[in-house]
Symmetry: D2
Subunit: 499 residues, 4 copies
């Protein structure tokens, strides 16, 4: 499994993978090596409209889904309460997200609410094969496996949308690839599409710059990345846990006493820093924004430039959303054994391409862990994909992500004519608040209610919203708030929390 | 010093004092009891245009101011950099804020930038007499002492504005009393006033509801309470320290193992909870807003209704901005020795009036600390004014408050015709960012700069602002963003941080 | 994989496994099912004196060992510094510990220092098969695989000691089984044995009560469990990390907002509580010892009896060293989905046997994770072996354990006649201190040295020991301090830290 | 109040004051300047056998004592339970400790248990004058005031012991001065003395080296400094709070973002570091002992030599017990405004004498706060006495100190002949445990009791002691454990916790 990178000429790098990955022959030893595209598989009911690794793993995947359901009480509650009403009756949802147990719970919920679904993976590595098997066994048309090639990737997406007698009317996308593919190959399909729900900041940018800006976004899109709950819970609170889990599972590093530099002090960076500080690491922060920088200072982290500490740190973590935050020059100066880990959403933060030079030896030591070895024997432990890892295999952490996706689909699908134009919208604030309130019972948390007198004093409605005068306003390019008419979620929806 | 509250008929309660305070005869034993209004004092240069406790304390006050200067490097830097330019030349500022060493540094800075100042206190208890003496000695017209009566309070304000041959053209207000007084007594004065800077949320509400809404706000006002730096630093970070300091100085309580309920999980509540948790207290939280509530849960605090824990807690802290959060029924159920402390901005949170009944005995044990004694001997330790305490005596903590005030005065005074209308504005974002960047050197913090390539990738200007698409938008009632033309601060102002 | 426990009659439970585990047929799907005892394997040099799962996994195991070496700089330094000297020349060490990458680094170090080694596993589940393969490939006689039966367990131990032409003169034991086996089967072997190093508190008790007390311990034993570094680092600091890792890997639970009760507030409990509190859990503690209980209070944990919180908690963690801390009655009252996890050393803390009743269904969902399902559908997630898990698969955490084992072997093997009698000893304090000092360079930590004047003032030697008047004294039953003559470690050993 | 230090020749420095203090004329402005020794005062009953500042302050002092009682439930419980029994009937206790509200509660408890008391202060600055007044008013013979001269100090001690018709039979000492005085002046007095209780490590050393070693300690002494509860609670937990309080009250420094170096990582250092880290400071540690050093690393603090960080830190805290930890060379390199604070027990840690040179200007800015000003204007803020400050004015923190003193007095006074020889003893472990158990109800903490089966399994008595095989053993020079016969505390004493 030792290999040297050939000098490569040309070849477009997959945007979702910062390096070409291991040689094509690398697979888990326990897997057979036939491509799923060459297999003929059917589920126990004789249905074969899917393409996955191995349908026999369905039982194991089902158990994973059942475990996930236990961690997702809010979505299960939504499924239970709304399935009589079928708010998605008639919806034909095509999705392109990480295929995990959590996504499976989402898909089965959408189905319970009346939707039909076809699904591909948004990442060539992140599919849980056994979950895909359980979904296929359950009758879903899933096209995804772990370790797809780039060609496989687009083939799977195409299989989702290019079906005779079935045309999607809703899109759920994570990264914008699915939308892009439809836009390029089947532009007419947008005529029937009522809306797009986009998960990632990357996807939002692609929609808005490629499509919306050019006046080519012919349907409303909803940006669920910027909801308060997603920002706080998916980023701050989940990353607080997943940074530890991701590093520990891949490297077994002990955190106590280690020196760590975290690049970026946004929500992800704040979560990483808090967790590592609590485990006894000495944490440095780099930032470009003085307000975030001042917060880092007040939270007890030394604010440095990367070069000031690069020789002494044991771990480098990137979470900036920027590109080339860690470059070859930095990597050359790191000490032996330094771990370099990207927690940011995209994998542009570490200039991995700069390590594809002949004098460096790459060694894949575990799944998603590479040792890069310098001529003098120095090893860097490279976790370019730990974000993907933690967002998928540890994804039951993501309390709210798929729940917000479900709400956004319901909202866009049911919105009255005219509420949403051909533009990018934020999740309506009321739904954002609703997400939070549905999670409180999980914690046996008891909300206090305003008395009439107090509500009057504060000038608030007793049922909220509770932050009447402030809200995150997002300019044209990224999202509008919809017109203030009340969004329909489902009966009984009453709590409307504020920021 | 034992006394029982008489059954009171009538009498308007001072809004800034939740109880009538100790009997009129109560004073510090070390002070003489002559009212400053009855004294004739002059400073060493023969100037007598002030009214304070004792001019002889000036030396001691000067030392306090010098110590404060050391903790306020950003304001001192501004003083140094802008005093050549005199951006406030011609400004006549009338102010009504807490009279502390920190305010003194502000006033001396305004003076160095060209302004003339007259000042009263916004709170009858918070004046540091020795600082007022130092200001008077330095030639400032200050009208304030600790322990003013309500009549004194308005008399002092009047002395600031009702001067022959001098008319203010800028107002700096904390609570809205000064503005209100001018509006009632000298409405014509507004003709010359270029702008109002308002510090507190209470004052902002008074401006906007009483004046702006009624179409009577004839000058622009700037709400500096809602700046990001003020929200984060004055509230979260300062309260994290001042809750400990305020409780310790007044009660010497030990925090380890104590059970505490914090009402409200906004920035102040977050700061209080974090500090007490770190000191080994067991902390419960009450909230009305599900998003804040969920944050409390994820931060490790049990979310309860007050009644669930009221019998068992050792300390109750209010920081909701609401009224009657702790009422007599709650107070009746607390255990002996329970400390009840208001950290919120206004003193409406604890229904102190409900304790003015004949069967309860009040005992003032220290300045701002009352024991309220039930017939069975149970004592409640009441700190209705700890917020005031911590915001004044410990106020060197307030990193940014007076700095933001200074910037807002400069901006409003220098704004080109038409930038600000007769409305309430937020501090321009760029200035908010500037505040943060000026504080970084204090921490020996090194900001990273974007490369050209990175700036392009992110679609940002290298000098910021760094969060281009998001900003806190505040609706009409509370504040507008000014038109985007570049605010003038002073030459060399280039950093423009984002949220 | 659903099964119901049969009503079992008789059958001695293995002390190291609190339940019979899954049906015998359960294995990893990727493994073949032939017993290692039925296989004939040889390493690449033709040597077949071992019994392991699969020699072909040696390459993968070698990589694990190399990764482990990076985390164990102190042991690697010892190997380097002492291999010229060969302090274990002539030593024949028989070992019975967890077979992990870490143990492999120990064995290869012992070998580099001159010893011959034969090894068995002290736990039927904990062997890393690929590491065992790498050891066998490297020429070590290893007898161990994951998933041994009880019969296999003793067979492996016997294969280690019952060899023609080879007789051990040192024992390294973890739990006392190996010592017990030799004592029962080959008592004469003790004549050649110079000493026993015992790792676990269980083993120490067995030595002292079964052997020493009965006057049958004919060789000195060294209790390395009670060294300061082991107590603090293996227990407090490692458990702070491994509780999170163990729970996350097995259940993917999110810690934020979860209610957790930790039984026992010793070093392990302190580590668990600190970590969970930092991750946003609400933590309760149970204790029997008032001093530990008071520490829990001061550290901010509510001290409760288990029954007070058993209905509300999401996670129950035992780390008392006691038995039946969580019993069937408690388990019956837990809520659906509650995780029950033993972090204590022995698996007696949870009364798992009480769950082997016909009305409960067991389901093995992952390795070492069982769901126990009540008739009403309530599931308890049982991690009876998480300690084993974390101490093995995550064992690179254990900074100091094997290092202390190595030092103890060297000390006992080289001790002059008469230093150690037929009794149980503690690790000499000087070596304990030496362990700490050797780990400091890992953290780039710079120790301050006393000046002559300071040393004189404190009455200390400049090179330590630094806590002259205090040391942990352990009574007869558990361990003696050796006579104070200087222990021999190796040349250059000078630092002698205190408590 | 500006003054330059004269070049001083000769003159023994008081060991308890590291600098000569402010010029003799310095006093609180509110105090009159007559020496108490020149006043004739009587309490309301006509008793004049005391010497204090001002008997008129008695009422205020009484309130302070009542507040203190609320924070000392354990001592109050002891007073209540034992006052029928009068275990100190006939005891004549002479004491020399800090005179604080807490000490007053102790003295009144001793009196309730039957003892007569005479008391002096162990520190020339720490006396709370109003508390001394309340004690005098209550009939106690107290000789102490704030701001004694060295001559006053010894005069007060002499007045306690040199009385006609009264001779002490018990000594309670903090620092050893009282014992030393008796030993030098009235050696025959020891004949009637049954025992000495010594509070401080300094005093213990003086006893043991000066007296015990020389064979001159003719009575048993009990070292209460080294009790577990004292070590953990007085040092770790109290200092965690008092470092913040002490710094905030004296300097109003904001902790967030500040760089701090803490010299020494014992219990005091651990407490300081934990608190400052929690407040957002960046903390460095210096240590001489590798085991403590390794703990600092694992707790997340960079271990440095002082010189590595001296130029950059904002605060320097000493808590080593060593001398000259911060010397002139260090002080010369500190940056402007650096705060230097001694939290250690003795004031030898900072070489304050080295600052008494003509080129440096001293300025006393507040009580116990000096600015030392370099010729270039650099100011160092010197808090050489903050330990004293926090141990007295904030002393209600000290949960357990006086409680342990009371127990030790009872034990020594009631011990059967022969239990204690002429040596230094530790507090019997059982009493140490008893101290902890009496404090648990304060926290509403519920201890779990062992079942018979569990007690048997662990080999423990159900009522403890709970750590049978381990205890802190202290060698001859510092303290013996008494012979194991059960110490008498008072009826109902049953809990006997372990470490």
């Amino acid at each position: 499994i030792l290999y040297r990178f050939p000098r490569r000429g040309g070849g477009r790098a997959l945007w979702r993978s910062s390096y070409q990955g291991p040689p094509a022959s690398y697979t888990d030893s326990s897997d057979d090596e036939t491509s799923p595209r060459d297999k003929q598989q059917k589920n126990s009911k004789g249905n074969g409209d899917f393409c996955i690794k191995n349908i026999k793993q369905a039982d194991f995947g089902r158990r994973e889904i059942e475990i996930a359901e236990q961690e997702m009480p809010a979505l299960m509650a939504l499924r239970k309460r709304a399935q009589g009403e079928k708010p998605l009756a008639g919806a034909k949802v095509v999705g392109c997200t990480h295929i995990t147990a959590q996504t499976a719970v989402l898909m089965e919920t959408l189905s319970a609410l009346g939707a039909q679904c076809r699904w591909a993976a948004c990442n060539i590595y992140s599919t849980q094969n056994e979950v895909a098997a359980a979904l296929a066994e359950g009758g879903f048309s899933v096209f995804a496996w772990k370790g797809e090639s780039e060609d496989d990737f687009w083939w799977c997406i195409d299989r989702c949308v290019n079906v005779e007698g079935w045309q999607p009317n809703m899109i759920l996308d994570d990264g914008g690839d699915l939308t892009h593919w439809i836009y390029k190959k089947y532009p007419n399909m947008f005529k029937k599409i009522k809306g797009i729900v986009e998960e990632s900041v990357t996807g939002v940018h692609r929609h808005t710059s490629t499509l919306s800006k050019a006046g080519k976004l012919s349907v409303p899109a909803m940006n669920v990345n910027d909801s308060v709950t997603k920002q706080k819970f998916d980023n701050l609170y989940c990353c607080r846990e997943s940074i530890l889990d991701g590093l520990k599972r891949t490297t077994d590093v002990m955190f106590g006493g280690k020196q760590v530099v975290v690049c970026g002090y946004g929500e992800v960076g704040k979560g990483c820093c808090a967790a590592l500080k609590a485990m006894g690491s000495i944490v440095y922060v780099t930032e470009i924004d003085p307000i975030c920088a001042l917060q880092a200072c007040m939270d007890g982290f030394r604010l440095v430039k990367l070069n000031e500490v690069i020789r002494q740190v044991d771990i480098v973590i990137t979470c900036t959303g920027n590109k080339n935050v860690v470059v070859r020059e930095n990597l050359d100066r790191m000490k032996n054994g330094c771990i370099v880990c990207n927690m940011g959403h995209s994998n542009t933060e570490i200039d991995v391409a700069s390590l594809r030079t002949p004098e460096l030896t790459w060694e894949r030591v575990r799944s998603q862990v590479d040792h890069v070895i310098w001529p003098d024997g120095k090893r860097i432990v490279l976790l370019a994909e730990v974000h993907t890892h933690t967002h998928t295999h540890s994804s039951k952490q993501a309390l709210t992500r798929v729940f917000v996706q479900a709400l956004a689909l319901i909202e866009l699908y049911n919105a009255p004519e005219g509420r949403y134009k051909q533009d990018v919208y934020l999740l309506p604030k009321k739904m954002d608040e609703y997400v939070a309130s549905l999670h409180l019972p999980t914690f046996d948390a008891h909300l206090t209610e305003l008395s009439d007198e107090q509500a009057k004093y504060l000038g608030l409605n007793k049922n909220g919203p509770f932050k009447p005068n402030y809200y995150r306003y997002v300019k044209n390019k990224v999202g509008h708030q919809p017109s203030p008419s009340k969004p329909r979620v489902h009966p009984g929806f009453s709590r409307q929390p504020g920021l």
